[in-house]
Symmetry: C2
Subunit: 201 residues, 2 copies
């Protein structure tokens, strides 16, 4: 029994290690339910970038001196599914990558360009795993000691859950900020009936 | 002879039509040497986005009221090659997509988000085809009547040729603006000896 148990454990650990090293196309979870930080998300499909986006009162927003760029990526197979029918399939995963913005780099004399990475966050659709929060969960890979390799979902009390549920144009996702996909959602009729472009939280 | 000629022409035209409809991974040229506008470049690998970048005197730059976002994409196989050895293989193709920037969209109360597409430009490395201009050529898919489906290279007198030759960090490409790739180029030793981060044109 002890031997059999060890084989099971070894298989699970080995399976997890192998998964962790494969290029991820969507979420990969550890045996204990932590989401692994994908190493290759920059090769996923880019959806948009914003500069200095602020979701609360503007006065509480980022410093105007060093606003962040937000780059949004989604796993490739889910992107292809969305292009086809305007909906996110189960096991869709978004990465929100924050980068410091810089002025005056090289020949650039105006505006801002992207610098070092500042944070990585994620959103995952997994209807079974996250049924208590409407099928979606949110993650931050940041810690006081830098990026971590895997994380549990943020608690249900984190503000992202309510904000994504109440202010998004398609399912729990801010497709209103992805011009190409918003057009697809309009054509496919998948924009939520409750979506109000003028609503502020 | 007439029949054989027709077969050759039909094959060329058919081959071109088929290529034009395949998802492109790099440059595809028409029989007359025009670069086809790739329909799927948003699925290529994203390199960076800037807002309101200005290459000449700042005073000549874009309006501060409505600066453009510049999204840069490169074909996937060339990206993979660059990650491996810090160099661009022959048949590398970049797309520079300009988008209008917007403020106050949906819940965003500060900073700017991406709106409609404003322009599409391209850079292609093809050592044989563009040997007179150092292996690289530059293209604009814009016209007074909107986007065109295929274009000849911009003339050698267009300012992009000299600017890319004189101010780029790796080959003829502005890798200094792509933080992840710049780090790879540094590690692989492929940053040009002549690259000066403080040089202004």
């Amino acid at each position: 029994m002890k031997f059999a148990g060890s084989v099971v454990v070894a298989t699970l650990v080995l399976g997890w290690s192998i998964s962790a090293q494969q290029p991820a196309n969507g979420p990969v979870f550890s045996p204990s339910g932590e989401l692994l930080r994908p190493q290759n998300y920059r090769e996923w499909v880019f959806l948009t970038s914003g500069l200095g986006m602020t979701y609360g009162p503007a006065a509480e927003g980022q410093s105007r001196q060093s606003p962040f760029f937000d780059n949004v990526f989604v796993n490739r197979s889910s992107y292809e599914a969305f292009v086809k029918d305007g909906r996110w399939p189960d096991k869709t995963m978004f990465i929100l990558e924050g980068r410091r913005s810089l002025d005056n780099v090289s020949i650039n004399n105006g505006g801002r360009t992207q610098g070092d990475r500042a944070f990585i966050e994620a959103a995952v659709k997994d209807v079974q795993r996250f049924k208590e929060t409407g099928g979606w969960a949110y993650f931050s890979f940041d810690s006081p000691n830098g990026l971590v390799n895997s994380v549990k979902p943020l608690p249900m009390t984190a503000p992202c859950y309510a904000c994504h549920a109440n202010n998004t144009a398609v399912e729990n996702t801010f497709v209103q900020f992805y011009p190409e996909l918003f057009e697809i959602a309009r054509q496919k009729g998948t924009v939520k009936a409750t979506y109000d472009p003028n609503k502020k939280p």
